[in-house]
């Protein structure tokens, strides 16, 4: 594995690489929607008083991106918790289950956009085609 790692870093300045990574993370449209006034820099999750509990309960086993990619109703989020408890050894969340659900339902609920079989192309970055 170290050998693979070496390939990546051998010539690229780490600071440059750092900036590129920041950029790449931002290209997933689902994760860049401004859903909260502010987001946690490490996880990308919305900051509010319940954030710390959500981070502790939800990001130990999986990437926060699994949350950021999704928009579910409260019942659907609950079914994900139950599924993880059945299949992935998620512990009983106890009283914090309500806190976690409040947070997810508030920040990561389905959008009210009209149903579209093919929506308009978004975020096109125009460039001059020379060839």
């Amino acid at each position: 594995m170290i050998k693979n790692l070496l390939l990546v870093v051998c010539t690229v300045g780490l600071f440059v690489a750092a900036m590129q990574r920041e950029h790449t993370y931002g290209t997933n449209p689902a994760s860049t929607q401004a859903l909260a006034d502010s987001v946690d820099a490490e996880t990308g999750l919305a900051l509010d008083p319940n954030f710390t509990i959500v981070k502790a309960q939800c990001t130990g086993c999986h990437s926060p991106k699994l949350i950021l990619q999704h928009r579910f109703t409260r019942d659907e989020w609950l079914s994900k918790i139950r599924w993880m408890q059945r299949n992935h050894k998620l512990w009983d969340l106890g009283e914090t289950e309500k806190t976690v659900l409040d947070y997810l339902a508030k920040h990561y609920a389905p959008s009210q956009a009209a149903y579209s079989r093919r929506e308009a192309l978004r975020n096109v970055k125009w460039y001059k085609l020379e060839k």
Partner: protein, 410 residues
């Protein structure tokens, strides 16, 4: 892993910097200037050797997709191959010399184990270009949204795989007459880190397993497999959901019934036997859901990248690939008027069965303005890609709707 790299103020720990300096072979200059909580590229194993424009959908487990314009090569370079993992890559050091493949199960006459070097010397080696596409490629197009990685259209590759035919191995082992299915087992780690849990163990009917192109592979594009793609050994079964191409392969079970491993059940890699309305709940029984086999007809526009502006009057050269699971491509067409009229593209024959086919077309835009260029492929059975999103299903699989790019004549 990432958490342990940083101190409580979000800067990299001294020990992490020392490790990094060891890897790079030099001091990390400006370490104090790195953004807080930033994880240097060297620690991001899933992105090792990958193109910087790959899109990370998840980093635990690693799921990374390729923007369509990066798939322009005839044979997908390793740096542009998507990664789909259900679990974590093996963490123990892998010694290829000690790696073995065991064939067992109800339908072998007797179990047999081969070392990797025995596989390489005992059987004839074959190389094929094979399309691997995630069953959930295109999932982000479904409304209402379904669970899972929200792939756009880049969870597909066609690389050149080298290994031995599974059928040659099974012929050497000796099968009973009642073999109906195979199931693989790999050394990936369950996300819960419980070593007793199997992450994913899928397979195909014995008929598909015995096809010439079904490989037990140790190389891709002439190189040993990268860790993220299954080092040192994996199954490669083109044309079906890529989840049947098990990575870090150590065992194949030959079953006398449909394989019942992890992710063969529920709605995993399955779709409703009868179409249902979008969003409807359906009990996850085998009576209601069928296993996805051959993937549907699909195509991509890989050149130009979406957003091209060209001078009015100039010819627009387009190209891409088309594929259709177990079948060949009969025709590819392009449209710049939302499907009102179509123009035939040139389509090349595949390098081998189960490889994608390259297409190209030259078009003239009729006046200045904004266009969408749409491509649609038709398979050998006469089945064409839909322009709209196809049948909604609870797992969000099999979205083979046409790809399109934005273009302006200026």
């Amino acid at each position: 892993m990432n958490k342990t790299l940083h101190n409580r103020r979000g800067f990299l720990k001294k020990s992490a910097l020392t490790t990094l300096a060891g890897i790079v072979g030099t001091e990390i200059v400006f370490a104090e200037n790195m953004p807080k909580n930033h994880v240097p590229l060297a620690f991001e194993e899933g992105l090792a050797g990958k193109h910087p424009d790959m899109i990370v959908l998840s980093d635990k487990p690693w799921n990374v997709e390729t923007p369509p314009h990066l798939l322009d090569d005839a044979i997908t370079p390793i740096e542009r191959m998507f990664i789909r993992n259900n679990g974590l890559a093996p963490e123990e050091k892998i010694d290829p010399k000690a790696w073995t493949l065991t064939i067992k199960g109800e339908s072998v006459k007797a179990p047999k184990t081969y070392t990797l070097s025995e596989l390489k010397t005992k059987f004839k080696t074959y190389t094929y270009q094979l399309v691997l596409e995630c069953g959930g490629n295109g999932r982000s197009g479904f409304v209402p949204q379904t669970s899972g990685n929200q792939w756009d259209q880049g969870a597909v590759s066609c690389a050149e795989w080298t290994g031995v035919r599974l059928k040659d191995i099974l012929n050497d082992v000796g099968l009973k007459d009642d073999a109906v299915y195979i199931g693989y087992y790999g050394k990936d780690l369950h996300p819960s880190r419980d070593p007793s849990k199997v992450v994913i163990s899928r397979g195909v009917p014995i008929k598909k397993a015995l096809e010439d192109e079904t490989l037990v592979a140790w190389a891709v594009n002439g190189q040993e497999l990268p860790l993220m793609h299954g080092f040192p050994l994996r199954l490669v079964i083109g044309g079906w959901p890529a989840s049947v191409s098990g990575k870090w392969l150590h065992t194949i079970a030959i079953r006398n019934k449909e394989h019942d491993g992890a992710k063969m059940d529920g709605h995993s890699y399955r779709v409703p036997r009868q179409p249902i309305p979008p969003g409807e709940k359906l009990a996850e029984t085998p009576e209601n859901f069928r296993i996805i086999e051959s993937m549907p007809v699909k195509s991509l526009i890989t050149y130009p990248k979406s957003g091209a502006m060209l001078d009015f009057g100039k010819t627009l050269s387009l190209r891409g690939h088309a594929w259709a699971g177990d079948f060949g491509i009969k025709e590819v067409q392009v449209s710049v008027d939302y499907g009102a009229t179509w123009q035939k593209a040139n389509v090349q024959p595949p390098k081998n069965r189960l490889a994608w086919q390259h297409w190209s077309a030259q078009i003239q835009l009729p006046k200045k303005g904004y266009y969408e260029v749409w491509a649609r492929a038709t398979d050998a059975n006469g089945i064409t890609q839909p322009m709209v999103i196809p049948a909604w299903n609870p797992g969000g699989y099999l979205n083979n709707a046409c790809h399109r790019i934005a273009v302006k004549a200026v």
